[in-house]
Structures are given as C-alpha cells and as structure tokens.
Amino acid sequence: MSKQTAESPSRARAEEQSATGVMEEASVATFESGLDKDRKTIKQQQKTRVEGFDRDTLLKLYYQMLLIRRFEEKSAEAYSLGKIGGFCHLYIGQEAVAVGAISAIRKDDYVLTSYREHGHAIAKGMSPESVMAELFGRVGGCSHGKGGSMHLFDKELNFLGGHAIVGGQIPLATGVAFAAKYKGTDRVALCFFGEAAVNQGVFHESLNMAQLWKLPCIYICENNQYGMGTSQERAMSLKDVAQKACAYEIAAEFVDGMDVLAVREATERAVERARRDFLPTLLEVRTYRFMGHSMSDPGNYRTRAEIERYQERDPIKLFSASLKEKKIIDDAGLGEIDERVRAEVEKALRFAEESPEPPAEHLYYDVYANPITTAPEEN
C-alpha cells in the first residue's frame, strides 16, 4: 500500500476522532499487509480476539457461519438438480462478514443487502426453511415465492431485502436510517454491497447525504475483488474502497473479512458511532467468494491457484482452529455442531420441497396496497 492511500482514510478518521472522540485505533495501515500474512499470523490475531468473547457467543457465530456454508452447498446441489431457477449467487467464502457484522446489532436494527443475500438473511434470524422455500419459488418462502433468491424479505425481523440492481439498496438503507432518526429511535441500518457497487453513482450520492444529514447508516462494502468476472483492478481507479470515504468525511475502516471477530469488532465501533452520534461509517471488508459469481459462472477470469490461496484463509476453518486451540471446543464438539447444522439444512430442504407452489390467483396479489378497481364488468 502506498503512503498516500494509507493516509487518506486515516485523515478522515482523525478529523472524526477530534469531532466525536469515538474513533478507535486505526487499522488502515495494518490491514493491507494482513491479506498477505501467512495463516499462522492470522490465526494468532484471531486467537487473541477470541479471548474477548464468551463461549456461547463464539459458538453461536461458528454455528451460523457453518449453517450458511452448508445451506449454500445444499442450494448449489438443488440448483444443479433444477429445483432452484433463475440466478443463484452463493455466499460461500464470505460467511464471516454477514455473521460478524449482524451479530453486532440489535434485533430491531435494520439490514439491507444485495442479491447475494442468503447468508445475511439467515444471520438476521430468518429460518433456513423460509429462505430455501423462497429459492424453490414456493408459497412457504419468505416472499411467498414472488421474490426468489435475490429478493428475500422479512418485515418482522427488519430484514429489508434482497435488492438486485447493483447498488440499489444503498440509498434505500440511507432512507431507512433517515427514518430511524426522524422517528426518534436509536436504531441503525446495516447496508451490505459488493465493491463493484461502489462504482455506481448512487453510492456516492448516498454517502454524501448520510454524512450531510448525520444518518445512522453503516455501509459495509464486502470487497470480494470481483464484480461478476471483472476484477477490481480492471474496474476501479483506486485500490482501496475505504479511501473513498474521505471524499465525504465519513469514518472508514479496513476489516479482515476472513476473521468473523474482526468484522464484529469493527461493526461494533461503527454501531456505537451510529447510535450515539448519528454518524455513518464505511467499512471495507476484504473477503473472497470461493464459488462463481452465480451458478452459471464459467470462472475463467481467475486461477485455481488464486482460489486455493484464499481457501487457506477459509473463515470457517480459521475460526474452528482458533476455537480448538483456545480450548473453547474440541473435535467431538465441532462434529456435533456439524451434525446439528446438517440436520437443520435437511429440514429446510424438506420444507421447501413440501411447500406448495403459489396458487395462480397469487399472480395478481400485492401489486398495490390500496388496489382500485376501475374497469367495468365485461359485457
């Protein structure tokens, strides 16, 4: 990382710190080299973090990550069998981001995300049954089969989608944060998007408004380095997404997206800033998807070796190793969790298969909340 890129977000944060006093120690200068660190060093960092959490929390995070991993593996299988249609964007490799970040917020806080959102939905508390049934296009799905893989919603859990135009959720989340503040609550909105969405104009429009109006929105850029088949270096003039925050004087942080605890801690800092001072934050979370962009991705834009290099940093393997070494759990315990997870995914699959297709009359349901009948009866 060049000196210049290292300094710009730091400067934004330094000003932030002087204004609010809530900024934590900068991780900007250290993260970039973190991606190149060997597995041993990363494990050492995570093991230190493990000490700050209780056993239940750690095991819950592990369970959720594994549940998402197994859920996605099952989704891939069901897609290959033709049971899931359309597009299907898997989250495998990125589990630590959704799980770590969403574990840092309250139940009544909001989450909005993109079309690669099965993991976020499950992390927010949606049942794998309702998600899998939605992927299957069944009436028991969370959106009653109308939305599909890219449009998962759950109003009761404040999971606000599931948006399939790149960057489309960014102004929506900004508006949700606006409403949270307008109504006098201390709720915050988490907004997830990929690094390719940062090239959309609306990302910049939203960050400008969020800082201008002091909105409690936390923008989480999951930088998996590829927008479909186009690498970040072929699409973005800057190397670091977090650096863009300084254009709006928004606090920013680089986060290791392969370390669930690092994601959680960074999100906690951002949440505190949002709740207490109505300030937005941009987190650039470096991650990697192990699967293709979607199920139809030929994958010819990156090498097997590159994927394998990142798989050495698999967030789930990394975490289970840390937990074992810190004596939080042993192999037998991990095996027991795996069995529970597999059983839950099987249950979701059965539910989806048994859930009926939407009845034909649903085609015309929910076009309008206040429908108006104007056409006369046909003669």
Binding site: Y110, L112, G141, C142, S143, H144, G145, K146, G147, H151, F153, D154, K155, L160, G161, G162, H163, A164, I165, G168, I170, P171, L172, A173, T174, G175, V176, A177, F178, A179, A180, Y182, K183, G201, V202, E205, S206, N208, M209, L212, W213, Y365, D366, V367, Y368, A369, N370, I372, T373, T374, A375, P376, E378
Partner: protein
C-alpha cells in the same frame, strides 16, 4: 368557495397533510429555504421546520431512493422533483424499488410515497426541460399516476395521493401553476384516485383529455358548439389506474372519440386509451378513434416551432370534425 391557483392548492394540500400526519415529510431541491423553484412549497419550512421540509443536494437518484427506504419503515415521503425531467435520473429507484417492493416482498413492504413536481411542456426551455413523461410511469404495475388539471383537482388528488399506501407519480403541468379555480373549503376535501370527471356533457363526440389538454379541449368544445357539434369532455385525472369505465360509457353515448395529449404519440397514453375503447366498445364506434398528440420530435426552443409541437385548440377541433365526418 375560494378561488386560488393550482400552485396555492398544492401548497394547501401539502401543508394540511403534513399537519395531519407527522410521518409525512417533504424533500427535494430548493423546497425549503428557496421556497420552491415554482413556489409550490412556499412557507412550509417556516411553519413545519427543517426536520420535515428538507433541501437536498442535486442528487435525484439518491433522494428518490432515500424516500423509498424511509417509506419501507413507515414514513410517508413527498419527494419533489424540481421538474419531472430530472426524475429520469431517479427512475431506477422509482421503478425497480418503489413500484415492485410490495410485490417482490410478498406483500410485506408497502411504499406510501408521492413523487411530485411539474411536468409536460414548459415555456421555451427546449428539449431537456420540456417533455411529458406520464406514459413511462403509467407503464409500470405498482405505480399510480395522477395529473390534475384544475386547482380543486390538484388539492383533492394530492391529498388522496399522500394518504394512499402506494407510490404515486403526481405530475403537475408546468404551464398551469397560475391557473385559477374554485376549491372547496375544509381539510377533509379529497378526490379519490382512479375516478374520471366529465368536464362537459355532450352528445356527438367524446374528447378524452388530461392535464394541459383539458382547457384546450374545453375551448375546442366551445368552438365546436358554435358549429353545431356537441362535445363531451372527459378528464381521467388518474392515468393509472385508468377509469376506463367512465370513458367507455361516454363513448357508448357519443359513438365517436378524440383522445388529446401532450405526449409523443408512439406508445403514449392515448394509444392505450384507444385500444381499450376498441376492445371494450368497438361495436359502439361510428368512426375510428382519433388521437391528437404532441409532435414526434424533441421539444424545440424557437417559439414558433414550440407552438407547432404542442397540440392546440385548432387541432382538437379538426380532429373532432374528422371523426364526426364533417369535412
């Protein structure tokens, strides 16, 4: 009844609905400190405060999306486009988010939002600032599209739009803000969406007209009356959902129709109305439906050319005479 302008009627509607419901807020370019580029929002900042009357940066896609997000969690935004020409930048959020959210969430998230502002032809501002876009928005299920032609309609329809739980595209005609008319007193005055109004009863030819074409059609009806032709003028007021029932009933009576509009003819609302009439009342027609539309060109600047691009009384009179087989 008080006689006020469309501009004042809209102002009253916004003010009354904001006083009635704290969840209603107003956002847009120059709506607050500047008092509105067209003065529709005059005085609202002073009375209702900067929390609820909010000036935005020039960032249409951003604040349109912000409004939709706020509507997802219970607010009722009024998003002003300084002119609807700029809504073009915001169409992703209007169409892909506002119009579809309820449906694709399986009925979970309604979007009670009003996108409003002036549209249609303006005075000599050339191609990018002078165009009618209602057929775009009317295309999409999930949106409602409203176009008032009088101060009373402006007030009553805007109040209904703000209270409605669906996204409403509310297009005010830029040339008509100063038009005056009687508006019923009382804060309870509303006009339901999706209900056409018969502006003038007649027996020979139906003229379906909206927005700027309503006064044009009424003038044409006066001219035609002096020529012995009795015209019925129907203003749908809401473009989507369209009160086709009232239009068809009129056609069954007169058996001849002219549809007048400012928009380009191709894929315009008049094309849709014509088809609906053909499908529902073909056997009642004594002549083919005739459209009078804006010229199929971008709006020119020169006054003479601009006048040629916008339909006027003469064209409507000629169209009526044509369907009545008088020439």
């Amino acid at each position: 009844m008080a006689v006020i302008t469309i501009r004042e009627a809209l102002n009253q509607a916004i003010r009354e609905e904001m006083l009635r419901d704290e969840n209603v807020f107003l956002m847009g370019e120059e709506v607050a400190a500047y008092q509105g580029a067209y003065k529709v929002t005059k005085g609202l900042l002073q009375e209702l405060g900067s929390k609820r009357v909010i000036d935005t940066p020039i960032t249409e896609l951003g604040f349109a999306g912000l409004g939709v997000g706020a509507a997802m969690v219970g607010l009722r935004p009024i998003i002003e486009f300084m002119t609807f020409n700029f809504s073009i930048l915001a169409t992703d959020q209007i169409i892909n988010s506002a119009a579809k959210m309820l449906y694709m969430s399986g009925g979970q998230f309604k979007i009670p939002i009003v996108f409003r502002g002036p549209g249609g032809s303006a005075f000599q501002v050339s191609s990018q600032h002078s165009q009618a876009l209602e057929s775009w928005f009317a295309y999409f299920p999930g949106l409602k599209v409203v176009m008032p032609s009088t101060p009373a309609y402006a007030k009553g329809l805007l109040k209904s739009s703000i209270r409605d739980d669906d996204p409403v595209i509310f297009i005010e005609q830029e040339r008509m803000y100063g038009n005056k008319g009687e508006v019923p007193e009382g804060e309870d005055f509303t006009i339901p969406l999706g209900v056409a109004d018969i502006k003038r009863e007649g027996t020979d030819v139906t003229i379906v007209a909206r927005s700027l074409m309503v006064p044009v059609a009424l003038k044409a009806a006066d001219v035609l009356a002096s020529q012995g032709v009795s015209c019925e003028v129907v203003d749908p007021r809401t473009i989507r959902p369209l009160d086709i029932g009232t239009i068809v009933e009129s056609v069954k009576k007169t058996n001849r129709v002219v549809v007048a509009e400012e928009t380009h003819p191709f894929c315009g609302v008049a094309a849709e109305i014509s088809t609906e009439i053909m499908e529902r009342a073909f056997d009642y027609l004594d002549a083919p439906v005739k459209r009078v539309s804006g010229a199929d060109v971008p709006m020119p600047y020169a006054k003479k050319l601009e006048n040629l691009a916008i339909p006027g009384v003469e064209q409507v009179v000629a169209a009526v005479r044509e369907v009545a087989y008088l020439d």
